[in-house]
Subunit: 236 residues, 2 copies
DNA sequence: ATGTGATTTGTACTATCGTACAAAAAATCA
DNA sequence: TGATTTTTTGTACGATAGTACAAATCACAT
């Protein structure tokens, strides 16, 4: 939408550059950073390997640009959604709205820059698992603000739950979200075809519902640490 | 334990072989498969690169052996824990016991083969994210049985929740578990030091409590699909 | 101690990696 | 159109990858 700006950006002829970015995003998201060569990317984009060097200098630079391109619009969109969610009156409904505002943009398909999108979210999941340095840096300095904003919003809806628990549970949420995008087929397989792990709408609803319940769980204060230790025999 | 068998296995002098396996497990789990070279592994194990080839033939063979070594004892142990959990009378307590039986072994430290252990679990998380072929094959044929057993056990404690929902929620559980092992520092960072993401006991308690609540969430039947669609403006 | 098989070492081969760079092609503007 | 800049191509270089293999070394039964 926001397009006809004719800025002084280097977007003179974005065809090849954009194709390379898209191909790299897809390949990195499915195979990891190190498993994909610059030549793989060039071939998938219908470009020459040297063209990648020309546009992005290095392979790291290419990854960095993928992040750069997404992070700005994405955080903006998330702020909007969060602000709207925070205006919901009913406390229970507000919690669900906040969670949904966090979850939904991660599942959008296509090249939805603003929402983040499933492809970029999956990319982040994979980079996180690989401990990629470039990703780690840009993520810590770009996403933590947003994460804190969401955590605060959730905490406002659940004043009786300590912040520590909220942090843990939001961490679990992100893990579940990532994993749903990384291995959707596992859901189809384990449900014996009754559920479709690749159906974004189902994933969102299931994740929102489960997560809201998780956030609403009673506080886990260390006052009663060894409430019960069931099962676990002592065989080493 | 089962050791002095003097079988015809090639376990005559396991020192170096074991060192290589341990080093590879650690390096793969933290950096991914492709980012780690055979030379890296050999160096970390104090071995010669050729020694890796001698014991495991190929790099894939080395990864395969890591899985092979863990899967048997691990599934055995999980079955034991699950069986014990299923003997818990109270339905609510049983659910928690089953979840704990699933979660706890994944966080054990050291070279605990039977439990699975944090290192191997993290390795599985990373391989899953990278879409590693070797791992994908062995996982589908080794873990699905156990997963089904746990899903069935949880379903028994929650008869009113459709199996589909149980599958989704158990999928979220595994994702949260993986992510907790992959990026524990994020918890410490977001909680501003109030929580320690690397503390296994805390992680287990938090994860069990949150997950039990998630499983207990009301069923999400498609009878009421558009219960409410809060927030989300329609800007594409 | 000595011979034998198992293991470790050292090294080399080929393939592919990321990247550099000059030449060709395309695009832009006077 | 011709000049100039931007983009694409083709190719090459050094580094490192996985793996193979012969020689050296070790463990140990005889």
């Amino acid at each position: 939408m926001i397009r006809n700006a004719a800025s002084k950006e280097t977007a003179r002829k974005p065809n090849m550059r954009e194709a390379i970015l898209a191909a790299a995003e897809e390949l990195f998201a499915t195979n990891g950073f190190n498993a994909v060569s610059v030549r793989d990317i060039a071939q998938a984009a219908g470009a020459n390997p040297g063209s990648v060097t020309y546009h992005f200098k290095t392979k790291d630079g290419l990854l960095l640009e993928i992040y750069r391109r997404h992070c700005g619009p994405m955080n903006l969109r998330r702020s909007e959604l969060l602000a709207a969610a925070k205006r919901v009156r009913d406390l229970q409904d507000r919690l669900e709205a906040v969670v949904r505002a966090y979850v939904a943009p991660a599942f959008t398909s296509g090249s939805d820059l603003a929402g983040g999108g499933a492809r970029f979210t999956r990319l982040r999941a994979v980079m996180s698992a690989e401990g990629n340095e470039v990703a780690r840096k840009i993520i810590a300095q770009t996403f933590d603000d947003t994460s804190h904003a969401f955590i605060d919003a959730i905490h406002d809806s659940l004043p009786h739950v300590p912040r520590t628990d909220i942090v843990w549970r939001s961490h679990f949420l992100l893990g579940a979200l990532y994993y749903s995008l990384v291995t959707p087929d596992r859901v189809s397989r384990l449900s014996r075809g009754e559920a479709d792990g690749n159906d974004a709408a189902s994933a969102i609803e299931q994740l929102v519902q489960a997560t809201v319940a998780a956030f609403q769980a009673p506080a886990l204060d260390q006052a009663a640490p060894a409430r019960r230790r069931p099962v676990v025999s002592s065989k080493t």
